[in-house]
């Protein structure tokens, strides 16, 4: 019998309660100081993302997509507004609590993978366990198996193809079973074949109940998501209502 994951539990709860929002933004802004005044990387954004939703964030370069993802992942804090993730007001939290929260709640998938070059694929996955709680090699192997990389566990990142590296990155992101996966252009550095593999993995994770927020330039990838949030010059200007309830029925 398979263990019920945290994400699956949330998914089930969301269906019962009618998609309680896992991410809520209320007038969230992120302002960077610059030589000529300030840059509004994100300007007064307000929207919600329901549990188990798959959302694509689109927009031209410099529109604030990465800024948004970093805010959602608590790597960055808003300069104004209310940001609630999984029921917690993270914009009021301090550094140490944010670290803990990040380890528990989110998994990052990066465009350039950010694997530690001197650790094997397996160890890169275990690193996330290490910073979360305790390392467990068989769990880490299982995660690699899930992305179809069990035969590459002992390889260094430099010995892996781009697609394989991205799958290691995904395995690392989901090893601690976080409810939210944040992917900033996960297929930006991949060819079509690898993009398809990653897309399939994301679809499977979504089916398992993970909430996925994915930045992408690629219309094909965006089409996989249930909902698109479009950004332009830091402004959220198009977000069709959540259709998560509809879909999950």
């Amino acid at each position: 019998m398979k263990m019920v994951s945290e994400a699956q539990r949330q998914h089930a709860e969301a269906m019962l309660e009618g998609a309680a929002p896992v991410i809520e933004l209320l007038g969230v802004s992120r302002v960077y100081p610059s030589r000529s005044g300030v840059v509004h990387a994100l300007n007064d954004a307000s929207f919600t993302i329901g549990a188990s939703e798959w959302v694509a964030i689109t927009g031209p370069s410099g529109s604030g997509k990465s800024t948004l993802v970093n805010l959602l992942g608590c790597l960055d804090t808003p300069t104004a507004g209310t940001l609630r993730i999984d029921g917690t007001e993270v914009h009021t939290m301090g550094g140490g609590d944010l670290d803990r929260f990040r380890a528990d709640k989110v998994g990052f998938i990066f465009q350039q993978f950010h694997l530690i070059p001197y650790l094997s694929a397996l160890e890169n996955v275990m690193l996330a366990q290490y910073f979360h709680s305790m390392t467990n090699e068989s769990d880490a192997r299982a995660a690699l198996d899930r992305v179809g990389l069990s035969h590459r566990a002992e390889h260094l990142p430099s010995e892996l193809s781009g697609g394989e590296q991205q799958r290691v990155c995904i395995a690392r992101a989901l090893i601690n079973d976080p409810p939210i996966l944040l992917a900033d252009e996960p297929t930006g550095n991949l060819d079509a074949a690898n993009q398809r593999i990653v897309a399939e993995i994301l679809a499977e994770l979504h089916a398992n109940g993970h909430t996925i927020v994915m930045v992408t330039h690629d219309p094909e990838m965006a089409a996989l998501a249930q909902r698109k949030i479009a950004l332009s010059h830091g402004k959220v200007f198009c977000h069709p209502v959540s259709n998560v309830v509809k879909l999950s029925q």
Partner: protein, 437 residues
Amino acid sequence: MFLRMLGESFVRQRRRKLLAGLAILLGTTAVTAMLALATTIGDRIHRELAVYGANITVYPKADTLDVKIGGQTLRPTTGGVYLHASDLEKLHGIFWANNITGLSPELDSSISLGKLDSVPPSPVPAAGFWFQHNFGDAKVKLITGATQLHPWWKLQGSAPQGSGQIVLGATLAKSLKVGIGDRLMVLGVSDVADPVTVTGILTTGDATEAKAIFELSTLQQYADLPDAVSRVDVSARTKPEDAFARKDPDTLSPKQRDLWYCRPYANSIAYQIREAIPGAAAEQVRQVEQSEGTILERISGLMWLVSAAAMLAAAVAVSAAMATAVLERRTEIGLMRSLGASKVRIASLFYSEAGLLALLGGIVGYGIGSLLAALLTARIFGEQSGITLRVAMAHAFNPALLPVVLGIALLVAIAGSTASIRSALRMDPSAVLRNNA
């Protein structure tokens, strides 16, 4: 996982770390050499010196017409005034009794000596010594005697044990044309003739070579001078002489005098010996000790300066190496932050790396520094004082210094890397992980 991370990341950025490690190594080398010279070697060499010869000589007070040449006292054999051998036991009661490591009383006299068949025997100078004498008491064990206090003596054969045995100085043996195992006739002052066997030939390089040598009590009998001793050589562990040591205790204030009395200066011990033995004068024998003290003083100031400069340079080198290392690895740090790693954990990783570097550099630096100290000691004190490179080496490695040196190395590494580690943790992880980073 932590160890794996540490191990793997430690062997990365090798050139930079090599430089930082080298800087730490040089710094600790200087510090070790300095500390070893300032503390250990000085100390231990003094102990060694004590073994290598007497540093205090005791003689009868009335007998003040001594002529000292090169640490050897030349005097007429007919002094007429003697110390009492039995009084030597009182040395057990002096304040620094435990610092006395050797004792060699000597009785100078003369006897008549001849071959068994040749008549008559002719007078020759004679000396009586302790050989392997038990001078211990209930608390300490001390087997001592002339050969310990005169380590440069070369005794062929064996020492005389009681009456019936004699050792001849090399020149005397030559002039008598006798060797080990030969039998001679001794004629004492009371005209008692005694046959004796030559058990050894002694080479000393001084006037003793012309003497007939007996066990002290044997000569006391022949010379009819019971309990008499002409002089006593004492070797004691002492503190190197400094300005305070040269003070006359009788001119000091009571408090200062107590202080002087309770320091193991050769002068203080000599003073205590004078107090203990009636009719005795005691003086410090100035061998290498004095010059040695001032040399140590002179170089230690310089060494402190060099060490401080070396450690400062090491800290600068470490901080430069860490700054670039951290800069190169800032995405790695950002990634760890994104995985929920706290600042403390990341800092501990980098500090451990710096610490490991410090330990490695420190251990090697300790080794090299100790050798350097040994080399310097041998150079400074020179062979004539008996401190060969081998002796110095044997004393150079002081395990008590290792933790001190490693502690300093750690401190320097931590101080040197703190700035860059702090700046690394201040970096905005979202900025370093940004797509175009």
